[in-house]
Amino acid sequence: MKLKKLRKISRRNALQLIAAFTGTAMLPSMSFSQPNKALDRINEITKGLGATESDIYLDLPEIAENGNQVKVSFEMDSPMTESDHVKTVYILADGNPSPNVAKFYFTPEMGSCSATTRMRLSKTQNVYLLAENNNGQFLMTNAKVKVTIGGCGG
């Protein structure tokens, strides 16, 4: 009889503990996100002109199990001639300590505008691609990557 009573109390305690724990665990995710560093950077690069949302092929995993090695590929439709080509492409990540990831310089010699690299993502976040044409026009797209284990150290 005594044993049964003890067990009952401990279970209630356990439930209370679980409730308290989930409560605190949910707090950080409820607090609102900080200003978007990547969008600020895009504003800075385009000198406030902004970029047109465009249909650029940006290949990123939906879920990255390891944030240390996230493969990113992109391909843009461009004739890549002297008079009409993509000049630079920026990859930006809004959740990393610094939004800059990479800047690619393309030339008409390349015949196509596509590249692949691997990057680090510290947490679940949006990855932005910003492209500048030789005539100064900006295009952009973005994709969300869920990161299971972050990859920025610290």
Binding site: Q69, P97, S98, G111, T117, L121, C152
Partner: protein
């Protein structure tokens, strides 16, 4: 630092106007300046910050790398073959150290 060795994959023979894929990889720790070692000391930033590819001396592709690029940077890009020649690849790291490699490509 002879331990850092670049590797590049360039097709040896291609036909004219073919778009070829160039794959590059360099062994480099890419210390972002945020990691800590076993003693809790911050490892200073040491990354490859620039990559360039030239064909017969002419600029083809360049890239600025930031600390957000993974260890052992892997870069793939494309090139439209027009004439036979040599690719020169170069990586530069924060200390100013340069690593380079050349590859020949025959175009028919």
């Amino acid at each position: 630092m002879s331990s850092i060795k670049p590797r590049v994959k360039v097709p040896k023979e291609v036909s004219i106007d073919e778009i070829v894929e160039i794959k590059t990889l360099i062994r480099h720790p890419m210390h972002s300046g945020r990691m800590k070692d076993a003693d809790g000391q911050t490892i200073p930033r040491q990354i490859i910050n620039f990559f360039s590819a030239k064909f017969n001396g002419k600029d083809v592709f360049k890239m600025d790398l930031e600390p957000s690029i993974s260890t052992n940077p892997y870069i793939v890009f494309q090139y439209k073959a027009k004439e036979s020649g040599t690719f020169d690849f170069e990586w530069i790291d924060d200390s100013g150290e340069k690593y380079s490699i050349s590859k020949k490509m025959a175009v028919s």
